[in-house]
């Protein structure tokens, strides 16, 4: 990939037509600005001053609000680890509820916690928070004893699987994982730091990541999920294996520390799914949402597909994007990783499994937000 990477940012020559259009735009701006300054100079200055004062006042209020939020947050005990709170955003009440229900496990609060930590070549890795539902596991691990020296950290290899303790049958999982960088999405998909502050870039225009906490520790977060719609993770035992630790730059890994950190973690068997019959079409497509199984942390949609699908060249399923709550709050970027597909070759039924980027109170969901494959339009499908 080295050759390809060089080509992606190879120097280009700006074509004449691009330079002409750009210069036309710059000239238009120059003309308009000169005209404005000549004809309405004092009026514009007055308006600009009022705009600036308003912006400053809003910024000051925003500053106060942020300080207030941090102060009150410090007074409330956060149950989940930093990385899990950023990966699966939640209120303190939601964290408390899921932990009390046994859906979330906060490992440091358990006895014999120190037995679960693994140290290899001076680096200690320990499980922190584990959240399980039928199809997805969210796991965070705390890493201490490793100095990133300002670079993006990475494990060389990571493997996640689950085993059925009764039959000893093993099941591979798909997973998305990374070192937690302190960057989260708000409800509109806009990125910000987990303390609510705006993103910052360095002198090379690269986004600054906040990998370490106040103790200099890192966290690694994993979202793992079944590879088959019919599989379940509940009550299984997770096996997580990390190999070697180093740095990563544009997907190229450089090894720093040889090591193996292996974990066997019993998972919750508590089901948190709610099944809702929907029976509503995704407008303009051959897909009808038959039913959904929603948990606080994931969604399963089941579709019926009409025969019309066979006349389509593109048989891609619609994409679940998010939800609308009963109070009108919209989460259009709720959906994260997962799988989708047809149940068999007849193309009469299809499904999608999707994790969330924040905890949802299932009883508060009023509608689904779904995007058809062939157009950039988010459709709202009300739940009965």
């Amino acid at each position: 990939m080295k050759k390809d990477n060089n080509l992606w940012n190879a120097d280009v020559e700006l074509p004449e037509i691009v330079l002409e259009k750009a210069n036309d735009a710059f000239a238009k701006i120059q003309r308009e600005e000169t005209s404005t300054m000549t004809n309405i100079n004092s009026y514009k200055k007055t308006n600009r001053s009022r705009t600036l004062r308003k912006f400053t006042a809003v910024a000051a209020c925003a500053g106060l609000l942020v300080v207030g939020s941090v102060a009150s947050a410090a007074a409330i005990r956060h149950i989940w680890g930093r990385g899990m709170q950023g990966t699966l955003q939640s209120t303190d009440e939601q964290q408390q509820k899921l932990t009390d229900q046994g859906i979330a496990q906060v490992i440091p609060e358990q006895t014999d916690y120190s037995d679960l930590a693994v140290t290899s070549n001076g680096v200690t890795v320990a499980p922190d928070t584990v959240i399980t539902d039928d199809k997805f596991i969210y796991m965070s691990f705390c890493i201490s004893g490793y100095d990133t020296e300002g670079k993006d950290p990475s494990f060389e290899f990571i493997n996640v699987s689950v085993k059925d303790p009764s039959s000893n049958a093993s099941m591979d999982l798909s997973s998305n994982s990374c070192f937690y960088d302190g960057i989260v999405s708000d409800e509109n998909g806009n990125l910000e730091y987990d303390d609510g502050s705006a993103l910052e870039s360095d002198e090379n225009d690269t986004l600054i990541s906040h990998y370490t906490d106040e103790n200099g520790n890192l966290e690694y977060v994993i979202t793992a999920f079944v590879q088959d719609q019919n599989d379940s993770i509940l009550g299984k035992t997770a096996q997580v294996d990390f190999t070697n630790l180093g740095t990563s730059e544009k997907a190229d890994y450089t090894n720093v520390i040889d090591g193996n950190w292996n974990f066997t973690i019993p998972l919750s068997s508590v089901s948190s799914d709610k099944t809702i019959t929907v029976d509503k079409a995704v407008e303009g497509t051959p897909f009808t949402v038959k039913d959904i199984k929603i948990s606080p942390v994931s969604m399963e949609l089941n579709y019926a597909v009409s025969e019309e699908i066979h006349s389509y060249t593109n048989t891609t399923l619609p994409g679940f994007m998010g939800v609308v709550l009963k109070d009108g709050t919209r989460y259009p970027y709720l959906a994260d990783c997962g799988i989708d597909g047809y149940t068999d070759d007849t193309l009469t039924n299809a499904y999608e499994l999707r994790s969330f980027d924040r905890v949802i109170d299932v009883d508060d969901v009023a509608a689904l937000l779904i995007m058809p494959a062939d157009r950039d339009e988010i459709l709202e499908i009300a739940l009965p």
Partner: protein
């Protein structure tokens, strides 16, 4: 290349309606804008239109930018939206095959365009933003309004397709010998 401090100074001045500062600022991003635009619209003429529209839009909306350090991402987002608008307009008038073939008449930057043409747009745009522009996966998800997992999947598939393409090229080359 301007330092970060110099860039922020330019943005500050541009926000104060200084057209010279704005022009200098935008010119420093012209090549990045061109690479991104041509990856979506696949021809120089439409890339030029998208860039021109973006320059004007950025000038009009610059006061809405909350964090100056985030300028480039904000600008690229406007550019991507303009590129898709132009494509939608053209798709109503021509078939997709005719549209993408327009690129063959462009004579500049052929090696870069050949790279783009190997991949379907679902893969080439995340690949360009990741490898060409250095955006992180979360940033790409935000720019393209797709889930983070989708970005990861498309990067995986883009890499596999490129690997297969170059492998096939090497095999053809050996056979010809």
């Amino acid at each position: 290349m301007k330092t970060k401090k110099e860039q922020l100074e330019l943005i500050k001045k541009a926000k104060g309606h200084d057209p010279d500062a704005f022009t200098t600022l935008m010119q420093s991003y012209m090549k990045d804008m061109y690479r991104t635009a041509v990856a979506i619209v696949m021809n120089d003429a439409d890339a030029a239109d998208a860039i021109g529209d973006t320059i004007l839009a950025c000038w009009e909306k610059l006061e809405t930018l909350k964090n100056n350090a985030y300028f480039k991402t904000w600008m690229i987002r406007i550019l991507i939206n303009n590129c898709y608008d132009i494509r939608k307009q053209k798709e109503r008038l021509t078939s997709m095959d005719d549209y993408e073939e327009m690129a063959v008449t462009d004579e500049s930057n052929l090696e870069f365009k050949e790279l783009l043409s190997i991949l379907d747009e679902r893969y080439r745009i995340p690949m360009l933003l990741y490898y060409g522009q250095g955006y992180k996966i979360k940033e790409i998800a935000e720019l393209l309004h797709i889930p983070i997992s989708t970005v990861q999947t498309r990067l995986d598939r883009g890499r596999s397709k490129l690997k297969a393409y170059y492998q096939a090229e090497r095999n053809d080359h050996h056979e010809k010998r």
